[in-house]
């Protein structure tokens, strides 16, 4: 019983990490129609940045924030100087991000070598939380809390601020949004930077759980992809629900059918594609 509960907590924590990864992916895809194939690279590179900052003796949370900020800058540069040139050419944008993801993966291998790194959990979160006679690993609970806080913050921003209204306008109809004076191209840069930053932040937060190793990007990208196909593109709620569903399926699959865990992971995506191609919370795009 206790074991299943722990597994459930771990699943939800993984779901939280997946949300940090896929929230940006979903927004970028929803607003800009770019399936950003280097999103996994943002996650991995961010995690490596965090590891290096930690190695210099900085605080864990500071490392996560700094890494997120650095990746936001990199994301903005990529959008502004490479993707912008290819506006409207979806295929070229996909291939460009794919090419960049190979470059990032190889650069990481060169700089941080092939050995996995697992930074220790921050000391003040190393213990376990005791609730009703059950012990929960404190750090996982913290990850869940962080993911929920980020989700609420993003939701507030998108649904309740002027910026959010502009983003929604851009998602619904970019040309008309331009006509009424919204600078959609600036929004693009902002969203791309934000998505990259959150992914990198998630990478650092996830490092004590997942550890950081070459190939992490290639493992995270398909997860972001299925979360977004499952939840529906451009929908934060969809990304949140999709993340938790995938987190649960991944961990329980791993525990019960280790050989097939990876296949089971994709089943909900296949089902959604067949029954509801726009995703659980997606709108039908004409």
């Amino acid at each position: 019983m206790n074991q299943w509960l722990i597994l459930a907590v771990n699943s939800i924590a993984l779901g939280g990490l997946l949300f940090l990864l896929s929230a940006g992916f979903s927004l970028i895809f929803g607003l800009m129609r770019i399936p950003n194939l280097m999103h996994g690279s943002f996650f991995m590179l961010g995690a490596y940045f965090g590891v290096s900052i930690l190695a210099n003796g900085y605080n864990f949370w500071l490392a996560a924030l700094l890494s997120g900020a650095a990746m936001a800058v990199i994301g903005a540069l990529v959008e502004r100087f490479l993707l912008r040139r290819l506006a409207g050419q979806e295929l070229a944008q996909v291939l460009l991000t794919l090419g960049l993801s190979f470059v990032v993966a190889d650069a990481c291998l060169m700089v941080w070598t092939g050995d996995p790194v697992q930074p220790p959990t921050p000391a003040h979160l190393a213990g376990a939380l005791r609730v009703a006679g059950l012990f929960f690993p404190l750090y996982r609970v913290a990850v869940i809390v962080i993911a929920v806080v980020v989700a609420v913050a993003l939701w507030l921003m998108v649904d309740w601020t002027r910026l959010g209204a502009m983003i929604r306008a851009g998602v619904d109809d970019a040309p008309i949004a331009r006509v009424v004076g919204i600078r959609v191209s600036q929004l693009f840069t902002l969203i791309f930077a934000l998505g990259a930053g959150i992914a990198a932040f998630g990478g650092v937060i996830g490092a004590p759980i997942l550890s950081v190793y070459p190939g992490l990007d290639g493992e995270m990208l398909p997860l972001a992809l299925i979360v977004v196909i499952l939840g529906g593109t451009g929908s934060l709620l969809g990304a949140l629900v999709g993340s938790f569903v995938i987190g649960l399926i991944y961990n329980f699959g791993q525990a019960m059918l280790p050989d097939l865990a990876y296949v089971i992971l994709f089943l909900p995506m296949v089902l959604v594609l067949v029954l509801r191609p726009q995703g659980l919370f997606g709108k039908v795009v004409p």
Partner: protein, 330 residues
């Protein structure tokens, strides 16, 4: 009429060059590189049916390539003959292509690309994680090559000729396919899907059949690959293989028959050359991708021609202004 004759002469010359290649190349290493080019050209041609003629960009073809390879390799390992293993592999890849097609063709464009990518990743996941079936990261060995009509294909020359024959059959089949009414209707669905629908064509079915044809030839390339390498591992099913195949198609120029072949030659030669000097093939691959897309979106061959023209014009212009400046000075 004249261009047709020229084209025929070119084709005959090309075939003669390829057929005599082992005699003037001599070195076994280069013959093997040539075999690699031909087998990857089959893969690139297969992918080009979808990318070039159908306008459907698939990033899941490594999955199909690996399914054929793994099916044959595992059956050979379990004591079946080459004929049974190869036929089962082709049947298997057709079934897989049908499943891929049904799921991915629910959308087109970016959605298609994302779904094929995810499906390709499933194949990779099975190859990597389902250890009791696929031996995971250790891969599967293929200990022997087939002996059609009692001819051994163990040596590099004989294997090259076998690959060449398959390659020629593949390109002839593609040429027929592209020029057939079906090929024309496929191009129609690429350019004007809605009009084709209004004209009474079943757009979905045309795309689905194209996917099956593409999948079949991808499977053939997968079989050639395992016989060439004598080994298959999950790396073959990785996204990187799909990306390389796509790079072959777009670097040579899509929707042409010769483009993917040129692209396969470029990528295979670069891979062999770069890997000989540095370990950073992935980074080179990524940088080439970025450069091609940024500067030559139409493909390497037409792109180089365009850039050369531009450079020539700029050179002539500066030369002309230089002369004009000298003239006014004097």
């Amino acid at each position: 009429m004249k261009t047709l004759a020229l084209e025929r002469a070119g084709i005959i010359l090309g075939i003669m060059l390829l057929a005599t290649l082992p005699f003037w190349v001599g070195n076994a290493y280069y013959i093997n590189v040539a075999s690699q080019i031909l087998l990857f050209a089959v893969l690139a041609l297969a992918l080009n049916i979808l990318v070039g003629y159908g306008g459907l960009v698939s990033l899941g073809h490594a999955g199909l390539f690996a399914i054929a390879g793994y099916t044959a390799a595992l059956m050979l390992e379990n004591g079946y003959g080459h004929l049974a293993a190869d036929l089962s592999a082709l049947a298997m890849v057709l079934v897989a292509a049908a499943v891929f097609g049904v799921l991915a063709l629910r959308t087109t464009g970016i959605g298609f690309l994302m779904i094929t990518l995810a499906l390709g990743q499933i194949v990779w996941g099975v190859a990597y994680r389902w250890q009791s079936l696929t031996h995971g990261d250790n891969g599967v060995n293929v200990s022997s090559r087939p002996e059609p009509f009692g001819i051994s294909l163990a040596g590099p020359e004989s294997f090259y000729f076998a690959t060449l024959i398959v390659f020629l059959v593949a390109i002839a089949a593609m040429a027929l396919f592209v020029r057939s009414p079906f090929g024309a209707s496929l191009r129609g669905t690429r350019d004007q899907a809605r009009r084709m629908n209004a004209l009474g064509y079943n757009v979905w079915l045309i795309r689905f059949v194209a996917f099956l044809v593409s999948g079949f030839w991808t499977g053939v390339a997968g079989l050639l690959f395992i016989y060439y390498n004598g080994f298959i591992s999950p790396q073959v099913a990785a996204l990187q293989t799909s990306a390389e195949a796509l790079l072959m198609v777009i670097s040579g120029g899509t929707a042409t028959l010769l483009g993917p072949i040129a692209g396969a030659a470029i990528v295979v030669i670069m891979k062999n050359v770069v890997s000989a000097y540095v370990e950073r093939w992935n980074m080179a691959l990524g940088i080439i991708f970025v450069l091609i897309i940024t500067f030559m979106p139409e493909g390497l061959v037409p792109g180089s021609v365009r850039l050369a023209k531009l450079g020539w014009q700029a050179w002539r212009k500066t030369g002309a202004t230089g002369r004009a400046a000298r003239e006014t000075a004097s």
